[in-house]
């Protein structure tokens, strides 16, 4: 790891609408990952020729030193220090190392949203982020929102409106919905917002657009919209 701490990729100012295209994000990732393991950013599909085997072997060895990295995560208000293989994603750090199995792995490739958690209040796909990139970050998972005995209003609304069936996409949907409503409140526009600078509403159209990174094969979509609308308290802009 480089000595001087780079800004967290998820730690941008929440009221900066350009946050999501912050050019430092990619640089930060590369810097940190390079410190962690030479081959970690490369998918094996990219390899060909004689270099391929060497690179794959480097990865199999777990980085040059095969060493672990220390990382401190602040998950659901609890601080945890972990020594991790730098290839461990944030999702697997939670699921496999901290027994926080509420966040789900649907694809491990950023395609489904089942692994959505809130990092510094922002929703991210935790499968697309390495744990070592989150040293010191404040993370909220589904377990941190509520418990069966004391559910978060979003969790209670999902039960009431049957916003799930198999339940596997559900923690991701709920974390995403909580983060999404905060984005609307912060005035961050979406693809369907009519006015990029005006006040945002939690209309059905906005929710549908903003939640589209969270797949539900059981397709509880209509019910999820009902649950999120209820929690948002927004009565404007019904069916588009």
């Amino acid at each position: 790891m480089p000595d001087e701490p780079a800004p967290s990729p998820t730690g941008g100012p929440p009221d900066d609408p350009l946050f999501f295209c912050d050019p430092t994000t990619r640089r930060v990732f590369l810097t940190r990952a390079a410190g962690a393991s030479a081959a970690v950013t490369l998918g094996h599909g990219l390899f060909s020729g004689p270099d391929a085997q060497a690179a794959v072997q480097a990865e199999a060895g777990g980085g040059e030193a095969g060493g672990e990295e220390e990382v401190t995560l602040l998950i659901n208000g609890r601080q945890t220090k972990l020594r991790l293989d730098p290839r461990v994603t944030l999702l697997d750090a939670m699921r496999e190392h901290l027994q926080l199995t509420g966040s789900k792995k649907g694809c491990d490739h950023g395609q489904c949203g089942a692994c959505t958690v809130l990092v510094e209040g922002r929703r991210i796909n935790s499968c697309l982020s390495l744990a070592v990139m989150h040293d010191g970050d404040k993370i909220t998972t589904i377990e941190g929102l509520g418990t069966p005995a004391a559910m978060h209003p979003m969790q209670a609304a999902f039960v009431k409106h049957d916003g799930f069936q198999c339940g596997y996409c559900t923690p991701g949907q709920i974390c995403s919905a909580v983060g999404m409503l905060a984005e609307i409140k912060a005035g961050i526009p979406s693809h369907v917002s009519a006015d990029l600078l005006g006040e945002m509403s939690a209309s059905e159209e906005e929710i549908r657009e903003r939640m589209s990174g969270n797949l539900c094969r059981c397709a509880a979509y209509s019910n999820i919209i009902a649950a999120v609308r209820e929690v948002s308290g927004d009565k404007t802009g019904g069916e588009a």
Partner: protein
């Protein structure tokens, strides 16, 4: 308990708990992330090592050599399992292809090795060091090209061919005819939870904590594959992140985890990675379907034929795409036929409403084409051709209940069908061409024997155990509702334990038989428990009323707990279905109405409104049933507009094998969906008087979308999915 005569009035009819839109009892666990799915069972196997499956890189051929040395030497690796060191294995009868390749390879991404390591990252990285040399064969991958070589093969669920009357003659003399050919692509179930298993050996006993729809089949097929006695196998699957048919049978995750655990001498957990799922597991096979319908000028069908071609691996099964056509509409002269081609793609198998889901995509569009030719409203045409008995077998086999006509009329009314302009391409909303479509929904409603154990303790708390599974269907909740209704207690007093092979064998979840069959099994066990409690308390069972936690009879009452005694009382029983399915055609029905907008410039289709009316016997829990239906309707939209596993016809595999490339509907694709259930009790189906509803919603949903696109644009498409490029080709002629 035998079920071989129609149900009489029974305690379920009280409907104090059953039939109510109860919230799911497993809901709080699921929304808080505390319901443990298969890969998360740290409670049972805290020291599990990690397995990663290596898939074959060819579709058919032979393994010449497997190099595992580098992988074995990699950091953290505990074992590498291949066919060379796995020990003797067999193919379970229920599997078409083996779960581990070698020396021959049967399809692309068939498991060829499992790498077991201390950590997930180590296993995944070491898996890349496994090198396999192959001698590939030339395979067949193109259904259209193999159609001529397809053979007649009966399905496990019915004969390939049926015929009544004289179809060719009737079709030749018909006043109005339709003869159209449709094609549907391979599709992927794409449930959100990948197949996953933790396996552990204790001596010669194997435990599998897995994600599986059919516990007893999982035990059977694991025993057959590993050549061990079924009594030595324990399977547990209490939470399942969706199945849609993909988890009806144990797959490579379970078998390879078992082999890995044996080799590493410790528990091993294996999940298929998302990109492995379409090629490694099962998929819904592509079809080519020809539908011919001949009708009189009055719209009455006299001749109807439906033929379907599909492919599968050698020894595979047909996609039963013409099955609904045997029962849905009248017509004296009829035939159906299925032909099977050999294709060396992965195993073709069940996906939600196998056969009927894709069969409707052809038949219900053909009906739309016929309606247009006749100049008859498509809703009316369907009503005209309703029939109250099995049209192949005659009036001796009536439907147990059939409200297709009511579904169509009520649905048309609720949707505002009367506003539809029958002439296509007439309604415009800015850049959007707007159209409406209708389709019938038909799905057979099979039943399966199902057992349960029900106990009451000294406090009057009730526990139901059965190996039934809840794959998102609501089994936990409807089983609790059933027990609460019959035992006369609030639902909070019921504990339901599912998905464990130590419990009595249930129907499992498949073929939309789960809800009706498994609750009937619970009904049988509860009725037996009622009898024994009454006897113990000295009541006449026929007079005993179970209410408010009490048993009452002859002016006396006693609490359930007291009647059970200090040790409680537990009984087991099973519902055994007799020949009611033979005597009566049993199916659930519905009608789909869809409004779409098709962009006049880009050809993009957006679904604007969806509405459906369904009749499926007693609706055990309208909230959960509605969710099943909207989920299935959405999958129907996927089938119509986007879902397609693209075949690489040179190398023989599905190219778009992940959720980025295999498109399923997302939030933005689905408008509010309206679902309405008709009142119906089916006394021939079961003591619950319910029918299947879990798969009904997909049947016809996609056809209604296709028909709406035609009404919007005048472009008739017969090759699914109906993507914008196909729409665009037809658009300029009318825009």
């Amino acid at each position: 308990m035998k079920f071989d005569t129609p149900a009489l009035d029974n305690p379920i009819d009280r409907t104090r708990v059953i039939g109510r839109p109860t919230d799911r009892i497993d809901g709080p666990a699921k929304v808080t992330g505390t319901a443990p799915y298969a890969y998360e069972r740290n409670d049972v196997a805290p020291n599990a090592a990690y397995g990663w499956i290596v898939g074959t890189g060819i579709s058919t051929g032979r393994i010449v050599r497997i190099h595992t040395k580098e992988a074995e030497a990699a950091r953290g690796v505990l074992a590498v399992v291949t066919y060379e060191n796995a020990g003797k294995l067999a193919k379970a009868k229920a599997h078409t292809a083996r779960m581990l390749a070698g020396p021959d390879v049967q399809h692309y991404d068939q498991a060829v090795a499992l790498v077991v390591a201390e950590t997930f990252e180590q296993a995944r990285a070491a898996a890349k060091l496994v090198r396999v040399e192959y001698a590939p064969n030339k395979g067949r991958f193109d259904l259209a090209a193999e159609k001529e070589n397809a053979i007649k093969k009966d399905s496990q669920v019915g004969p390939a061919d049926t015929a009544t009357g004289d179809f060719p003659a009737a079709f030749a003399r018909a006043a109005v005819t339709v003869d159209a050919t449709y094609s549907t692509p391979d599709q992927s179930q794409s449930m959100m939870e990948p197949h996953a298993t933790i396996a552990a050996w204790n001596g010669d006993e194997l435990s599998l904590w897995t994600s599986n729809q059919m516990i007893a089949w999982a035990v059977r097929d694991t025993a057959e594959t590993l050549l061990i006695a079924p009594e030595k196998i324990h399977v547990s699957s209490p939470y399942i992140g969706g199945g849609f048919g993909a988890k009806l049978w144990v797959r490579a995750d379970a078998i390879m985890a078992a082999l890995g655990a044996r080799a590493a001498k410790r528990p091993v957990k294996v999940a298929l990675s998302r990109p492995q799922i379409p090629n490694n597991t099962t998929h819904r096979p592509a079809t080519i379907q020809r539908v011919r319908i001949g009708a009189g000028k009055d719209g009455r069908i006299d001749a109807i034929a439906h033929e379907s071609w599909s492919g599968d691996l050698p020894d595979g099964d047909i996609e039963t795409a013409a099955f609904q056509t045997r029962l849905l509409y009248g017509g004296a002269n009829r035939m159906t036929a299925h032909r099977l081609a050999t294709l060396h793609l992965g195993e073709g198998n069940a996906m939600r409403a196998p056969g009927e889901a894709v069969g409707h995509l052809a038949l219900e569009v053909a009906m739309d084409e016929l309606a247009e030719k006749l100049g008859i409203d498509p809703v009316q045409l369907r009503i005209l051709n309703d029939i109250q008995h099995d049209p192949e077998k005659g009036p001796e086999r009536p439907f147990s209940s059939r409200k297709l006509v009511e579904c169509l009329t009520v649905g048309a009314e609720r949707f505002g069908w009367a506003k539809r302009n029958p002439k296509p391409g007439q309604v415009r909303d800015g850049d959007w061409l707007v159209g409406m479509g209708v389709a019938s929904a038909f799905r057979n409603s099979p039943t399966q024997d199902s057992a349960a154990r029900v106990g009451v303790d000294a406090k009057g708390l009730i526990t139901v155990e059965t190996d039934m599974t809840d794959i998102g269907t609501g089994s936990y909740t409807i089983i609790a509702q059933t027990a609460a209704e019959l035992m006369g207690v609030p639902i909070e007093r019921i504990t339901v334990k599912l998905g464990d092979s130590k419990a009595p064998v249930s129907s499992g979840s498949g073929g939309q038989w789960g809800a009706n069959s498994s609750t009937s099994g619970v009904y049988a066990a509860c009725m037996k428990l009622r009898g024994e409690l009454a006897k113990k308390a000295g009541f006449n069972v026929n007079e005993a009323v179970f209410e408010d936690g009490q048993i009452r009879a002859g002016g006396r009452n006693i609490s359930l707990g007291e009647a059970a005694g200090p040790d409680g009382l537990t009984v087991e029983d099973k519902i055994e279905f007799g020949d009611m399915q033979k005597k009566f055609a049993q199916a659930s029905f519905g009608a789909h109405f869809v409004e779409v907008g098709v962009n006049a410039v880009t050809g993009e289709t957006r679904v604007r409104r969806m509405s459906g009316v369904f009749a499926a016997g007693r609706i055990l829990n309208p909230k959960a049933a509605r969710s099943q239906v909207i989920g299935a309707m959405t999958m129907g939209v996927g089938a119509a507009l986007m879902e397609e596993l693209v075949v690489d016809k040179r190398f023989g595999y599905f190219v778009n094998h992940d959720l980025a490339e295999y498109h399923i509907p997302v939030h933005a694709d689905i408008p509010n969906q309206e679902v309405h259930f008709l009142e119906e009790l089916d006394d021939k189906s079961s003591p619950m008087k319910a029918k299947g509803v879990g798969e009904l919603g997909i049947c016809g949903a996609g056809a209604a979308v296709a028909n709406a696109i035609y009404n919007a644009t005048g472009v008739r498409l017969r090759d699914y999915p109906l993507t914008l490029d196909k729409v665009l080709e037809g658009l300029p002629s009318i825009v």
